[in-house]
Symmetry: C2
Subunit: 220 residues, 2 copies
């Protein structure tokens, strides 16, 4: 959780001194976001009260409102930062790789690695997807759509290259389901690490989508 920085906020008047990166304000806000993420993760967005957030971050109830103007905007900041980060990491990892199968594996690994390294953030992103309204909702939805389209692109490319036949939509959404559901069951003391889970899910998904598909006629 880091550096929401300049254009991300609107609450009080901005400090006029230009060139402040990683200011006290931004650092403190980031700390609050981290604690808030944990609380939202445990109690849900609606179930978490501002007093819970106050307690968790060690700041008074009123003090929180110096950093953001509403509980909803706080959730928005968490979701936007999380989603932006995962998309940006994906893009950088995808650079220079041209084999579509390898690209899909990277997509899965990137998603699961970030998920298991930031379980609270990702649970809040996955589980509270409907909690935001209007402008906040549509801005996060836009990032989600971009992320979704990237995955569609990879699978369409895989289909084209290998002459496969399957519904891209069902495939992509099944893959997201496999991956995102992990927040309901993953236990770091019992389950393998991200790399191995990514390998196993990747095997299931890629074999499932690739083998024998060429021969199928439509309908059945």
């Amino acid at each position: 959780m880091a550096s929401p920085s300049i254009e991300t906020r609107t609450s009080p008047r901005r400090p006029r001194s230009i060139l402040n990166k990683g200011t006290r304000f931004d650092q403190r806000l980031a700390e609050i976001l981290t604690h808030a993420t944990d609380v939202f993760c445990d109690k849900g967005y609606e179930g978490a009260s501002m007093r819970d957030l106050s307690r968790a971050s060690g700041m008074s109830l009123a003090g929180l409102y110096y950093y953001f103007e509403s509980k909803e905007r706080l959730l928005f900041l968490i979701q936007k930062h999380t989603f932006t980060t995962i998309v940006q990491r994906l893009k950088s990892r995808l650079e220079g790789v041209s084999d579509p199968e390898q690209q899909v594996r990277i997509f899965i690994l990137n998603h699961l690695e970030y998920f298991l390294a930031n379980p609270a953030s990702m649970k809040v992103l996955s589980h509270e997807a409907e909690a935001l309204k209007n402008g906040f909702a549509s801005e996060v939805a836009a990032i989600k759509r971009e992320y979704y389209r990237i995955c569609v692109g990879l699978l369409d490319e895989l289909k084209r290259e290998r002459g496969l036949q399957f519904s891209t939509r069902i495939a992509v959404l099944s893959l997201f389901g496999m991956m995102n559901w992990i927040y309901t069951w993953h236990n770091p003391k019992v389950d393998a690490d991200a790399e191995q889970i990514a390998r196993e899910m990747g095997e299931i998904f890629l074999r499932g989508v690739m083998n024998g598909s060429r021969a199928r006629k439509d309908g059945r």
Copy 2:
């Protein structure tokens, strides 16, 4: 949504007349559960107020408490009924089928058919899995565990019969993810019906879990 019946409730003193099935009480409770399910589906358990439920079911706020003694118990009744029904249907459909692959296909079809026929109930079951506490939570968790174990059994049987090698836990949980995630995206105006989606997910999952697995050594 139907017949919570005798042992399910505790609120007021029970009508002493034995042999009442489908009484006025049970019917009205079932209606309330249906409306409450829709509201919980739309606004979430925490986000839905008793006044929302009152409005949706056309009964006064106080009147609701004649049928159940708390909001939490209402959610419990919804989840327990939904989960019990889906397990019971599965068991009856599984009877007489012995081929493990066919059994897995039936499992998937049963799950998705019920999901798409009762989207609100299933969303409330999937999305509000952490909302209940203590006794309520553990009773639903017990049914979930039974359902999970059935699926594990089917996959272990498939593994044994065909000499496959994969982590049953990861496979089962991936399958649940694929299926349960559907509440976040399925649009009846755009997407296919349960039978076809079950076929496509079944293909992906079964091919993914079956093909080539025999040859793999451990570790890699």
